[in-house]
């Protein structure tokens, strides 16, 4: 198993997952079901998280394949550009889905529906171009025809970092600001869930969570800029693979304090919730410390 396998495993998730999420959202509108709507937001958030390693592993697959003589480089480039163009609305839709879950009380931004439809259409286009890399039988008029009229945020991002020497250091500063926000707020939430902080309900502490999400957002954007500017530094590094796996788990673990913050009525449910919360808090703490560990060890560990 290598990262090219992982790309094959993950690359259908964004398109199919978002299609499923849109189906749930549409059904929730027809039946006016709050539960279905929340389910669709969970799907958008989770799939948006998985879409990140799907994109990153694609770059690793490209590295593995680049020595193949019959690899259609222009199709690969068109596929990567199309994927990044789709990833951006997908991440925004996932974030807005999370925000709708967090606000909870009947706040339903129409932007989630619009963005998710835009994202799934762009992702389907990226998938279609990607399919042509290994399936010449479906190759149409030639991939170069895709390239010029579509904006290419991936190439723009890489050029932005490489052409301006101040961008990388500034992004590192911002990456640390994001890290402190994300780690500080999740640590506080974890301390509450573990029972370390008394006299405050989870529902009050979780009002801080958007700041953790803002930190996560800052770090996804700055991290992606690092990746675009120097992809081999990351795709060829196992510490980075571990870090991204843990970021995915950490992001998913944020769903618990977001969604299950209500205090239970019966003593039995309360005790049950307390042990669940302790477990989630311990996992979340280990995960985020692991993220910092592998991030910090990236230059020292796992270089080939």
């Amino acid at each position: 198993m290598n990262l090219a396998h992982l790309h094959l495993l993950l690359n259908h998730v964004p398109t199919i997952g978002f299609g499923f999420g849109i189906g749930l959202l549409a059904a929730s509108l027809v039946r006016d079901s709050e539960d279905l709507r929340r389910a669709s937001y969970v799907v958008f958030f989770g799939v948006a998280l998985v879409a990140i390693p799907a994109y990153l592993s694609g770059k690793a697959a490209h590295y593995i394949l680049q020595t193949e003589p019959d690899l259609a480089q222009d199709v690969v480039t068109a596929h990567q550009n199309a994927a990044m163009l789709a990833l951006i609305p997908m991440e925004i839709a996932g974030f807005m889905g999370w925000l709708a879950l967090w606000r909870f009380r009947r706040w339903h931004p129409p932007a989630v529906l619009v963005l998710s439809i835009v994202a799934v259409a762009l992702m389907a286009r990226a998938a279609n171009i990607g399919g042509q890399i290994r399936h010449p039988e479906i190759l149409g008029a030639g991939a170069f025809a895709y390239a010029p009229p579509w904006p290419s945020p991936a190439a723009m991002g890489a050029a932005f970092v490489l052409d301006n020497p101040w961008v990388w250091p500034i992004c590192e500063v911002l990456h640390f600001v994001g890290l402190c926000l994300l780690f500080g707020v999740t640590l506080l939430v974890d301390l509450q869930m573990a029972g370390f902080i008394n006299g405050v309900p989870l529902a009050a502490v979780n009002r801080l969570l958007p700041w953790a999400m803002a930190g996560l957002g800052i770090n996804i954007i700055t991290g992606m800029l690092f990746f675009l500017a120097a992809p081999e530094q990351y795709t060829q590094n196992s510490a980075f693979t571990w870090k991204m796996g843990l970021v995915l788990l950490g992001g998913l673990s944020l769903l618990y304090p977001t969604m299950f913050d209500q205090e239970q009525a019966s003593t039995f449910d309360m005790l049950h919730a307390a042990s669940t919360r302790k477990l989630i808090a311990a996992c979340s703490l280990v995960i985020w410390i692991g993220v910092i560990f592998f991030g910090r060890f990236l230059p020292y560990l796992g270089m080939e």
Binding site: C180, V185, I197, F297, L301
Partner: protein, 155 residues
């Protein structure tokens, strides 16, 4: 002064940190430094946000215990920071970013202590202190992160 720094830098411990090349040397110290600083800055930022009106349903008294963890994080950051400093003492001592960082870490620590004394155990409304604390940590973090680039620039 310079000779003291050079002596420090040539001590066995400093040489080991710098040159051992093992993962439990310099990289591990750097990891604990990052873990400590993100605990200090992250938790105090969360407290500052609360004082600035975010999540205002959190009772202040419930956060009083959190300061213990902030100080524990600070102890870890300071101890690992001292080790990282002696490993490259002369280089850091000639880096203006390092002194900016130290000054604003001092400012950050002072504001955290003041927040605890005057807001948590006093009557003061903490918005101004909280804003000052956030600003101190932001500058300290930026200067610390930019140290490597500044030292490259001036050498």
């Amino acid at each position: 002064m310079t000779s003291v720094l050079a002596q420090l830098e040539q001590s066995g411990l400093a040489t080991w940190i710098r040159e051992s090349g093992v993962l439990y040397g310099y990289p591990l110290i750097l990891f604990f430094h990052t873990l400590g600083l993100s605990t200090v800055v992250g938790l105090s930022a969360a407290i500052d946000l609360r004082l600035l009106g975010v999540a205002s349903t959190i009772p202040l008294a419930s956060l009083d215990k959190v300061f213990r963890l902030v100080w524990a994080g600070f102890a870890l950051t300071a101890a690992t920071g001292a080790l990282l400093f002696i490993a490259d003492a002369t280089k850091h001592a000639s880096n203006p970013a390092f002194f900016v960082k130290l000054a604003f870490v001092g400012g950050g620590v002072a504001t955290v202590a003041l927040v605890r004394r005057r807001v948590f155990h006093g009557q003061q409304h903490g918005a101004f202190l909280a804003a000052a604390s956030l600003a101190c940590w932001l500058v300290a973090l930026s200067a610390g992160r930019l140290m490597a680039y500044v030292s490259e620039f001036i050498s």
